[in-house]
Symmetry: C2
């Protein structure tokens, strides 16, 4: 596991604007927002990406998706909607080698998604 910026945020070594924290994951504002609402949800467990998640991580993954939905609701996106994205590897555009879900909303997201 590389010592990523997300590992440093989890360790409290770099500040973040948290909107959710629990025993399995945390959520905070993306520092380079691509929409009026742009929140990241990351696991405390240092999974490199979705691609390396094992069967034992299924519960964690499901929990993280529900937290995506929860923080979207708290950000006022329940009625108008939002998009949840995770990038894997170079073609996916993955910028940090620590699993993270992007929650984007507050504008009409276009298609294709990148």
């Amino acid at each position: 596991m590389a010592d990523t910026i997300f590992a440093k945020i989890l360790a409290g070594e770099i500040p973040a604007d948290f909107v959710h924290q629990d025993e399995l994951c945390v959520a905070f504002q993306d520092i380079a927002p691509q929409a009026p609402v742009h929140i990241l949800v990351i696991p405390r467990k240092p999974l490199t990406s979705l691609h390396v998640a094992a069967q034992e991580d299924g519960e964690l993954l499901g929990h993280m998706l529900r937290i995506c939905s929860k923080v979207a609701g708290s950000a006022g996106l329940a009625e108008d909607g939002y998009r949840v994205v995770t990038n894997i590897g170079e073609d996916g555009g993955q910028a940090v080698e620590h699993l993270h879900f992007h929650v984007l909303g507050g504008r009409s997201l276009t298609w294709p998604p990148g």
Copy 2:
């Protein structure tokens, strides 16, 4: 639950090019692909979107994400990477009111994701 095109695919009333089927979910080729690989993963359970998934659905959600990863691997995307997307509501660009994950790859996905 509206009688969506996905409900009809699950019922066998409309054909689809399946790449995975199990007791919880199925995966098939998107009929309007936005990338060289564009697969949809949908649950058999008729959840309208991620936003309505309850705690009891956590295991299902985690399973579906792992199937996204599995079908991406089977499509040859493990090395170069891919993107997984789910749309919720109008701003998210949700086209069918049945939860679905898009798995996109085979080209470099751009940023922002829509």
